[in-house]
């Protein structure tokens, strides 16, 4: 396997972007990343695009061909592949692009992720998102997506003593970070009281424990390390790219206070990169719900099992803490266009590793980790990146 690097990235603004179509978003993110990398269309060997459910959100499938068309690359007839793993579609698209370059099949690939979620009403969007769970044996009986994470939250609270206030602190921290991200959907601070007083969605999760419904896209350019130097002085090396799966049904998991797929992907990633959790300087984790970030920092080995709540309360994961988590604002504040999320996390890692994160730049940013989850934990994709 060859060494693989990232040489450019771009994101659109995240939010309710009524004036922009799915195609507009894909084109904007893709072209921004291509310009950032300094490559030309003829340098691109293949395209990968992550998207969860454009078929149901906007009635559009066949995203590979769509991406080639809007990027002005149709005449080159390059391979263009759509990748789907619910909310981990973006991360998995990057894993696919990584494998293609590492194998030697391609030298330069563009990997994007996009979702246009606000063309349907909120209840319909919620129903579409429920297709990431088991339709016949979970959603059929009235389980919602927040409901599945609420079941894990209640279990975590019962087993480890995690509190609603600790969950709320995840949202407070991420909103605080989001105020420094001009691309974020919500750029305002909230308080623990705001979270605890917000509408209950699925007990114990309040509205402000949940990530929003968002339009957005992101893209990165992947190249072999030897090719990367032709285009940029600031390549970022992919130290690890790991993908793990688990049952789609929550009821078939081996435990409910962790995501075993994330634990497995993390183990793979640390081994591949040759690093320990303590070597990670900062991370972007999949905080689709506040409990998800608590479990993520435990699954990644940043803290012991059950210590995610207290550690968050103590500021371990704050921007000035020992391991800053979700400096972008995370899914909670930056927004969660499901197919784009995994790539938007990589964009944040690249900004930090290249010292381009502006006001939210963390002091030590040599090694960063991204943690992207599909469904209630049926897929996990973890990347570890370093500045070279």
């Amino acid at each position: 396997m060859r060494e693989v690097a990232l040489i450019g990235s771009g994101v659109t603004e995240f939010g309710e972007l009524w004036e922009k179509s799915l195609a507009d978003l894909v084109a904007e993110a893709g072209i921004t990343a291509i310009m950032d990398a300094g490559i030309d269309g003829t340098d691109i060997d293949a395209l990968y695009i992550g998207g969860m459910s454009a078929g149901r959100f906007v009635g559009q499938e066949h995203l590979g061909s769509l991406a080639a068309e809007v990027a002005g690359l149709s005449d080159l007839h390059i391979p263009a592949t759509r990748v789907e793993a619910a909310c981990a579609s973006g991360g998995l698209a990057l894993h696919s692009g990584y494998l293609a370059v590492a194998s030697g099949a391609y030298d330069v690939v563009v990997v994007g992720g996009a979702e246009k979620m606000t063309d349907v009403p909120g209840t319909e969007a919620t129903n579409i998102l429920a297709s990431a769970a088991n339709r016949e044996w979970e959603a059929f009986f009235g389980a919602t997506f927040p409901g599945l994470y609420a079941l894990m939250a209640r279990y975590h609270m019962h087993k480890h003593g995690t509190t609603s206030k600790q969950l709320a602190q995840v949202a407070v921290k991420n909103h605080h970070n989001g105020t420094l991200n001009p691309k974020a959907q919500y750029q305002r601070k909230i308080s623990v009281e705001d979270v605890l007083n917000s509408t209950m969605v699925a007990d114990p999760l309040h509205l402000l424990d949940c990530s929003p419904i968002t339009d957005g896209a992101a893209a990165v350019v992947v190249a072999s390390v030897e090719t990367a130097r032709q285009f940029t002085d600031q390549p970022v090396r992919i130290m690890a790219s790991c993908h793990a799966s688990d049952s789609i049904s929550l009821s078939e998991r081996s435990r409910f206070d962790a995501l075993p797929a994330a634990v497995s992907a993390a183990r793979c990633a640390y081994r591949q990169a040759g690093v320990e959790p303590t070597d990670i300087d900062f991370a972007e984790v999949h905080d689709c719900f506040t409990i998800a970030e608590i479990m993520a920092i435990e699954d990644l080995g940043f803290v012991d099992r059950g210590q995610g709540g207290p550690a968050t309360e103590d500021g371990l994961t704050a921007r000035d803490g020992d391991i800053p988590v979700n400096t972008s604002g995370g899914l909670k504040s930056k927004g969660h266009p499901v197919g784009a999320t995994g790539i938007a996390q990589i964009h944040e890692l690249m900004l930090q590793l290249r010292g381009q994160a502006g006001q939210r730049q963390v002091e030590k940013a040599d090694i960063g980790l991204s943690h992207n989850v599909g469904g209630s934990g049926g897929t996990a994709v973890i990347h570890i990146l370093e500045a070279i």
Partner: protein, 138 residues
């Protein structure tokens, strides 16, 4: 939703028919064609097996923001239930006040309406859970 999609799940949803692995004896619900423990050895040895319907609440949530078919029913309680046979099921817990639900509560399955496909569509039935009525002898 097309009726056959739910019609074919009737044995499981009405009578809790799962699968027992003839090789290791483990019981699964919903039914499986292969045992994840025995894998190849289990092929051809997976047998239908109805659950007794009794279990214990392992975790729960109260849904306040329901999906389309369940609008107007909120708040309702959903639980992850460990069945006495060892497998876990997801289902609503009914006939109790929301504050009565707790981890460790003993429940039993009951046959209920799940939702209606509009005013003219099929009515979907299946299992929900309620508090166990009779005291159990340990």
């Amino acid at each position: 939703m097309a009726v056959p999609r739910y019609w074919r799940e009737i044995p499981q949803r009405y009578n809790l028919v799962g699968t027992k692995c003839g090789s290791c004896g483990k019981i699964y619900f919903p039914p499986k064609v292969v045992c994840p423990t025995c894998r190849r050895k289990s092929l051809g040895h997976m047998e239908d097996c109805a659950l007794a319907g009794r279990g214990t609440v392992e975790s729960y949530t109260i849904i306040y923001a329901p999906p389309p078919h369940f609008e107007g029913e909120e708040p309702y309680t959903m639980a992850l239930i460990k069945m006495d046979e060892g497998c876990y099921l997801m289902g609503q817990v009914v006939d109790l006040e929301p504050q009565e639900i707790h981890i460790g509560l003993r429940v039993e399955a009951c046959f209920r309406r799940i939702y209606e496909d509009g005013t003219r569509g099929a009515i979907q039935y299946g299992y929900k859970f309620k508090k166990m009525e009779e005291a159990e002898t340990p």
